[in-house]
């Protein structure tokens, strides 16, 4: 029983520390270490941290993260987002609300190259917001669309959140990537439908403008196809079992680097900028991963997660009721804290609970389906008020647009996300069906 008390005390201490501005990674390090020392003593703890940090990061699955970040940084700095947006708006931009749909479409393609939602939102803010303004779109529609489009960076594989989920729960990254594909494409479809409905109800949000000439369309397509091809080869190769996710990410990063150098989109200084951007993103993720590693070692020592999972499984609570409760907790937590920290913090407790429930699926199917559901709620947390990281990013770049307007623009999309969450929760096959096609 003392394990339960200690684990609860650990969680309370952690939340208190986070509330007084302790960086999330450090807060987990502090509470995790304190609990670890309390349970096993200083010598065992000191011995554990001799090589734990090294072996945590010297991990083949984990190396996928910096490599995909690098690939995304090259794509981002080379102006791919702008080109994708131009190509997409060349086809649908002249329709009512077409620019917004073009952003969604371009984000979908960009999401297949970049695994970070913040990076996607930032890139498209710079690429698309000036165009929206030029054609007289309402600010809230413009910024809301870009903020939500940014989440496609993680909703469409590769996805840093899914990789972290796979590592924490020891699931197969390839299968998770495959399971996220249909829900990710559904997200893009739902966002476009949302735009269509909104501009139909309030035509003044999005004025119509003349179509682009066929020559302009061809020129835009010519600029984007090599990068899109790289994205397809990487994802196709990973899905097809031609190479591991790490190999795919390495090939993708190197190919993207060569492409940007050959086409002279980046010079040496640009490449250096990409390396520093990768350093910052990866360092941020690594600090949280290190903290979570220690905090989770402590939780495991308390045996609390296992006890809770057994208790819930034997309590006779309806599985869907428990799942709904967990997802609601995620939406609540995602509203006030960083999404990556949120899943690292809660998965050690929630995952065993969900794995112990009977949904009529195999253990692996349940794990992968739950991963996709977690990804959807993370996406909601990134854009929904009061704290949506993507909204902050877009607002910081969109000068003169009050954050309130961006949230107003985001809300209809959040509704679409909630509908999608219920759909995927009710029909696991939406996530699990592509698994049957994997080798």
């Amino acid at each position: 029983m003392s394990g339960l008390v200690l684990a609860s005390a650990g969680f309370v201490a952690l939340l208190l520390l986070i509330a007084v501005r302790v960086p999330v990674g450090l807060a987990m390090l502090l509470t995790g270490s304190a609990g670890y020392v309390a349970l096993s003593g200083w010598p065992v703890f000191l011995n554990a941290i001799k090589t734990t940090p090294y072996y945590l990061f010297a991990n083949y699955s984990l190396s996928v993260i910096p490599l995909f970040v690098l690939m995304g940084a090259f794509a981002e700095q080379s102006g791919l987002a702008r080109d994708l947006f131009r190509a997409a708006s060349g086809f649908v931009g002249h329709k009512r609300g077409g620019l917004a749909m073009a952003v969604i479409g371009a984000c979908t393609v960009f999401g297949a190259i970049c695994g970070s939602s913040v990076a996607t939102a930032a890139t498209f803010s710079r690429a698309a917001l000036p165009e929206f303004r030029r054609f007289g779109y309402a600010d809230s529609l413009a910024t809301g669309t870009v903020a939500v489009g940014g989440t496609l960076g993680i909703l469409i594989p590769p996805s840093i959140i899914l990789i972290v989920y796979a590592i924490t729960t020891e699931q197969n990254i390839v299968k998770l990537f495959a399971a996220a594909l249909i829900p990710g494409l559904l997200a893009a479809l739902f966002y476009c439908l949302t735009v269509a409905i909104r501009v139909r109800l309030r035509p003044e949000l999005a004025p119509a403008h003349p179509p682009h000439s066929p020559a302009e369309r061809r020129a835009a397509l010519a600029r984007v196809w090599p990068a899109v091809l790289i994205g397809l080869v990487v994802l196709g190769g990973i899905y097809g079992g031609v190479f591991t996710p790490t190999e795919g990410a390495a090939v993708g990063a190197i190919a993207m680097l060569l492409l940007t150098l050959v086409t002279r989109r980046l010079d040496l200084a640009g490449v250096m900028r990409c390396l520093l951007r990768t350093a910052e993103t990866t360092g941020m993720i690594a600090a949280i991963l290190l903290g979570a590693e220690l905090f989770n070692s402590f939780l495991t020592l308390t045996q609390m997660p296992g006890m809770l999972a057994r208790w819930i499984a034997e309590s006779g609570l309806p599985p869907y009721g428990v799942l709904a409760l967990i997802l609601l907790t995620y939406i609540g937590l995602g509203a006030v804290m960083d999404e990556l920290a949120m899943i690292l913090l809660t998965l050690p407790v929630f995952f065993p609970v969900v794995a112990g429930l009977d949904f009529g699926l195999t253990a692996e199917q349940t794990a992968i389906w739950f991963g996709v559901l977690v990804l959807i709620v993370v996406g909601i947390g990134l854009s929904a008020p009061p704290i949506g990281l993507n909204v902050f990013v877009v607002s910081a770049i969109a000068e003169g647009v009050p954050i309130r307007d961006t949230y107003a623009g985001v809300l209809p999309f959040v509704l679409a996300d909630l509908i999608r969450l219920v759909l995927v929760a009710a029909i696991p096959a939406l996530a699990l069906w592509p698994l049957a096609l994997l080798r």
Partner: protein
């Protein structure tokens, strides 16, 4: 996040060092990515890749991550929640942040020191990676030194916050 350059020479020096170290980490990552890419191509063309390419990738990832952490700290890029401290005065917030940076520095010293000992032990045992036979100990010692740099940087950012220079 402070994009502003430090006014003090010592602070500028530390920032410059973290940037160069982060570049080196990125280049190590790129090189390992290149080896893996070459291995994939060789496997495709000749039927067999480079032995132990995955081990190089693992070591490179650990080195790169530890090389990135000081830069991240210098930019104060760590994720933090500031929802509940809005009522504090800017100076109070700065002092609080300085205190946590100091704590970070202390923890980094602990990690650096223990990793240094762990790495020296591995050198003593002569531990090498499974397929390519690369010695593990020196790599761990290198990560320990980088953790030491992280401690130094966190100390600098703590002093900078506490003394009010941004």
């Amino acid at each position: 996040m402070t994009g502003v350059e430090d006014a003090q020479p010592a602070g500028r020096l530390v920032e410059g060092v973290t940037r160069i170290v982060a570049w080196c980490g990125g280049i190590v990552l790129l090189l390992a990515g290149g080896v893996v890419t070459a291995s994939v191509l060789l496997r495709w063309l000749l039927g067999s890749g480079i032995d132990g390419d995955f081990e190089m990738m693992e070591m490179a990832t650990a080195l790169a991550v530890f090389a990135f952490l000081p830069f991240c700290q210098a930019r104060r890029g760590n994720i933090m929640v500031d929802t509940f401290t809005g009522w504090m005065s800017p100076r109070g917030r700065r002092l609080l942040d300085a205190f946590w940076d100091l704590t970070w520095a202390g923890f980094a010293v602990l990690i650096a020191w223990q990793a240094f000992k762990g790495g020296m032990e591995e050198i003593g045992y002569g531990t090498t990676s499974m397929s390519a036979g690369i010695p593990v100990g020196p790599v761990i010692v290198a990560t320990a030194l980088l953790a030491g740099l992280l401690a130094a940087v966190a100390l600098v950012t703590a002093i900078r916050l506490a003394t009010g220079r941004s």
